[in-house]
Symmetry: none
Subunit: 221 residues, 2 copies
DNA sequence: CCGTACCTCCACCCGTGGGTCCAGGTGTGT
DNA sequence: ACACACCTGGACCCACGGGTGGAGGTACGG
């Protein structure tokens, strides 16, 4: 968050979209904003990388579906090699996978193509300032995905497991072999096996892989 | 997303924070923006509700920690009774729980208190336009939480896994032993072991329990 | 005082898992 | 024609996992 947003210099923006019918008008309309300067237009990811190599830029307005190198991969490379450049995704698609992939790749904004000029300009300014702007729908989806996980310990495990058995199950769920569990609990490996046999019988667990799944499902791991 | 952002009318903003030392200067500095009008200042949630009942507003800039009625509860009520009013959270705390609670309650923005005046103004404008603005840190946390239990296939697996190897990993993740996997894929157990050896080497998986965890984390199971 | 639950540990058995090395068959691109 | 990736399969070895059947310890409640 930078208070003194440098208004003395226009934001250098690169527009990336494989469709010229989208790219050209978009670049033109963005250039009308007095604080934005479109320094390049790219039809695929390689052209974006070439553009940032040729001249400095602040923000890349990125389509996801592009030939040769798509927006996800391009975003990933940009955030690795040029972390100072902010990527704002502008795409038709707002499915969970695309959103997670894009933001996970380092995008600092995600707009759908029914965003207006004002919305896009605002997102560019925010991204340049280190903020993230998301369409309302995108935020809702992201939030829904985040909340989709079970918060509390589930009832998939019988309540009559002893404390020790729970501990052992937790460590199994973390992928530890019996020897490591024994060391961690300061007991012998034989004892670990005893606990395992008991808890397997109680909880109806077949084998170790099954135990891992149950432990994760129960929120122990 | 509304293209014709109505610039002919100033955005009516309510500032809610229990600390007068924060509330008053904030209201003053926001009022300096020509497109923003601070129509009320509130010290807790009940004052916010009273203010929106008394006069129309567009955006509420909301602190989370407030006496009587906190920001979460106030946000929840606002989004129920006045869904046209956008809530932007401005708080010191950026823990996962607060973020999820606030956005889940209907907040359309989440800023930490090291945001500058420009950042706050931008967030207010975006929220009024239906967009969501998050601090970079907040976005990262939200994304991390969303990816913790993903529905989509993750990037935790190397991309050079073959189709067969993915299938085998999926079945391992479901707890099946090699024999059952072999039957399910109509191949011999020896072949299953070959695939397992290859995919373990490629993905850096140590043993079967580890494979189960990775499969679940990757959303294959 | 005695039963019961829990934690601790040992010995034995053997099935599955996983590593290693190898090899034939197929399809694809050069 | 050739290399290469992939799927397929077999043989061998042995470590780890898991079942069985014990045994001795403490702590608690009837």
């Amino acid at each position: 968050m930078s208070e003194p947003t440098d208004d003395s210099r226009r934001l250098r923006v690169i527009v990336a979209d494989d469709q010229a019918a989208v790219r050209e008008p978009l670049a033109a309309v963005l250039g009308m904003s007095e604080d934005i300067e479109v320094v390049a237009a790219a039809a695929d990811g390689t052209e974006v990388l070439a553009a940032v190599a040729a001249a400095p830029a602040d923000v890349v307005l990125m389509d996801l579906r592009m030939p040769v190198m798509d927006g996800i991969e391009t975003t990933r490379r940009l955030s690795e090699e040029h972390p100072q450049i902010a990527v704002v995704v502008l795409t038709t698609f707002a499915d969970d996978e695309s959103i997670l992939a894009a933001l996970g790749a380092g995008a600092r904004g995600y707009l759908t193509k029914n965003a207006g000029r004002q919305d896009i300009v605002r997102a560019i300014r925010a991204a340049a300032a280190g903020q993230a702007v998301l369409d309302r729908e995108v935020q809702d989806r992201l939030l829904a995905t985040a909340r989709a996980r079970p918060s509390a310990t589930e009832r998939v495990l019988p309540p009559d497991l002893t404390r020790r058995e729970r501990e052992v199950l937790t460590l199994i769920g973390q992928g530890l072999p019996n020897r490591a569990i024994a060391e961690k609990l300061f007991i012998s490996e034989a004892t670990v096996k005893s606990h395992i046999n008991n808890l397997f019988a109680k909880a109806g667990i077949r084998d170790r892989p099954d135990a891992v799944r149950r432990a994760i499902a129960a929120g122990l791991a």
